[in-house]
């Protein structure tokens, strides 16, 4: 196996009972930079991270992390990684400082270094003022920062972040993004899972899209957008066209319609962006030239790639609920209309 890979997983499989969570997943993550595992809820992201971070054993497959096998060389792997899960792994009744010092002692750092490291991390994560307060008094954003600080006490080579910004307000989210970027600059390999497309788009050098326990696409954000066509045509039908016409058009478009919002009478179609293709699409949708109220052509977003690649046809009745994908995905889609 190649040694410049931070993570290499081949044929990773895991089921709970008869439910297959990971179905022969292959992942290759090179050293340095940010790798994002992107997928809807229940896609198997957390299971994948737990296996890579030695907390769950896979049913099948071979996994090497930081050059060591997660099954046979757990200790070696554990010494080089850290995991920050979806729920803060902290003692609520201890102060922020006590939590960090505890981590330092468990890493067997010398006492002086334990204190120094805790103080430095509190400072860097803007928690010095709160350091002597119990964690139960912290806000969600503060907890998440302390949690990440706790996972950095040991200077890991690879950091696993399982949905690091889920449930955070926009400001805390931006702060978390900044921290992740700084980690990558400092040479740490960051492996994060997210259900937020803009998060992957903004942070990750490489993205693997998972759906139903399989990797359905992998590449840089630009490559993934490329894969589904460079542009998207968003169309809004007139109110006069009525819901039956809307449903008929969306049905006719089939999987080409990557978004559909009956309430706003809007849908989106991937296109190469040429005038000829756009004109042909408009003619197909609106042969009588009386149904389209407005249209807009723009570069594909990762949302489009995601929706296309996770093979969820945009028919209103079969689509996952908006919250399952991402609230802002729809907001962004409609903003162009």
């Amino acid at each position: 196996m190649s040694t410049d890979l931070a993570i290499e997983a081949v044929g990773l499989a895991k089921s709970y009972g008869s439910t297959s969570v990971l179905d022969h997943v292959d992942l290759r993550v090179s050293c340095g930079g940010v790798f994002a595992l992107l997928g809807p809820n229940g896609a198997g992201k957390t299971t994948a991270v737990r296996i890579l971070a030695t907390l769950t054993r896979a049913d099948a497959g071979r996994v090497r992390v930081a050059g060591h096998d997660v099954d046979t060389q757990r200790r070696e792997v554990r010494r080089r990684i850290s995991l920050t899960g979806q729920y803060a792994a902290l003692d609520e009744a201890q102060t922020g400082e006590q939590n960090l010092r505890m981590m330092g002692r468990l890493l067997h750092l010398p006492p002086r270094l334990v204190r120094r490291r805790a103080a430095e991390l509190l400072e860097r994560f803007d928690l010095t003022a709160a350091g002597r307060r119990r964690v139960e008094t912290y806000s969600g954003g503060m907890r998440r920062r302390l949690d990440l600080a706790a996972s950095l006490v040991g200077e890991p080579e690879i950091i696993f972040l399982d949905e690091p910004t889920t449930g955070l307000d926009p400001r805390s989210r931006a702060a978390m993004w900044e921290i992740v970027s700084e980690l990558a600059v400092a040479g740490v390999t960051v492996f994060l899972t997210t259900q937020y497309l803009d998060e992957a788009d903004r942070l990750a050098d490489r993205i693997a899209i998972v759906d139903g326990g399989r990797v359905v696409a992998e590449g840089s954000a630009a490559q993934l957008k490329e894969q589904v066509g460079g542009h998207r045509l968003d169309v809004e039908l007139t109110a006069a066209a009525g819901p039956e016409a809307f449903a008929a058009v969306v049905r006719q478009l089939g999987p080409r319609a990557v978004t559909a919002d009956p309430a706003r009478r809007t849908f989106g179609i991937t296109t190469d962006g040429t005038a000829a293709h756009v004109r042909a699409l408009l003619d197909e949708i609106d042969a009588g030239r009386d149904r389209v109220a407005r249209f807009d052509v723009h570069g594909t977003t990762l949302d489009d790639a995601f929706l296309t690649l996770t093979a969820r046809p945009a028919r209103a009745e079969t689509r996952p609920s908006p919250t399952e994908i991402r609230p802002t995905a729809l907001q962004r889609g409609s903003a162009h209309v």
């Binding site: 971070a53 030695t54 907390l55 769950t56 054993r57 757990r74 200790r75 554990r78 010494r79 990684i81 850290s82 995991l83 899960g85 729920y87 803060a88 792994a89 902290l90 003692d91 009744a93 201890q94 006590q98 505890m102 981590m103 002692r105 468990l106 890493l107 067997h108 750092l109 010398p110 270094l113 490291r117 430095e120 400072e123 860097r124 994560f125 803007d126 119990r134 706790a150 996972s151 950095l152 040991g154 200077e155 900044e178 921290i179 700084e182 980690l183 600059v185 400092a186 040479g187 740490v188």
Partner: protein, 269 residues
Amino acid sequence: MSELALPKAAVRPAPRPAFVDAAGDAATMIGRSLRLTVRSVDGMITALALPIMLMLMFVYLFGGALQTGIDYVDYVVPGVLLVCAGFGAATTAVTVSSDLTTGVIDRFRSMDVSGAALISGHVVASVVRNLVSTALVVAVALAIGFRPSAGVGDWLVAVGVLALFVLALSWLSATVGILAGSPEAANGFTFLVSFLAYPSSAFVPVDTMPSWLRGFARDQPVNTVVETTRAALTGRPVGSVAWHAVLWSLGIIAVSVVASSVLFNRRTR
């Protein structure tokens, strides 16, 4: 925010023998559990209030009707100490079980902290907590007329046997806590343990019980500890029952240490 990296060489510790690290982890976990215990105010109040209420109830409500050959307060205090210790130790099942539901356990595991270190933290905290509550119960007992006729050596025997039993019961409870699906389920165990004090000489002499129950009541671990403590505190010779108490405790510890390690590894896979 400044840059996040430190030179790696500054942080990576020099390798040490494994047992030094293991002992260090246990010490860290003991410190953690003690801090968490002290901060669980309602837990401390329950651990202290219940035994004192129980003692007042037995001495003032039931005591008048019970004939034990000696002042009932002198008779019942060792029993109350045992119930108090048993209940306090059994709550370890709850603290371990709820600890396992928190995300911090995953972090410990990914840092290679052993189950034994984590459990020993809970167990030692339980022993300390129980020694404090035992001291308080003794203080209240003295205030309501408990007059032990024990020398320093007798006190040491009584406290030693009691502490060893608390250690054993705490470790057993921790094992139950790992096994229990939820803190609520673990809580049931505390009732079971508290109940063991009744078919024993804790509150009434075993001779007053039906004959089929006497054999069990005499030889069960709670009774051997009560008998030892009572003999020591009333200045009578302790005799072989003390060895039974010690053997029971050591046996429970041996089984629990092994079982808790095995179960912890299995549960947190």
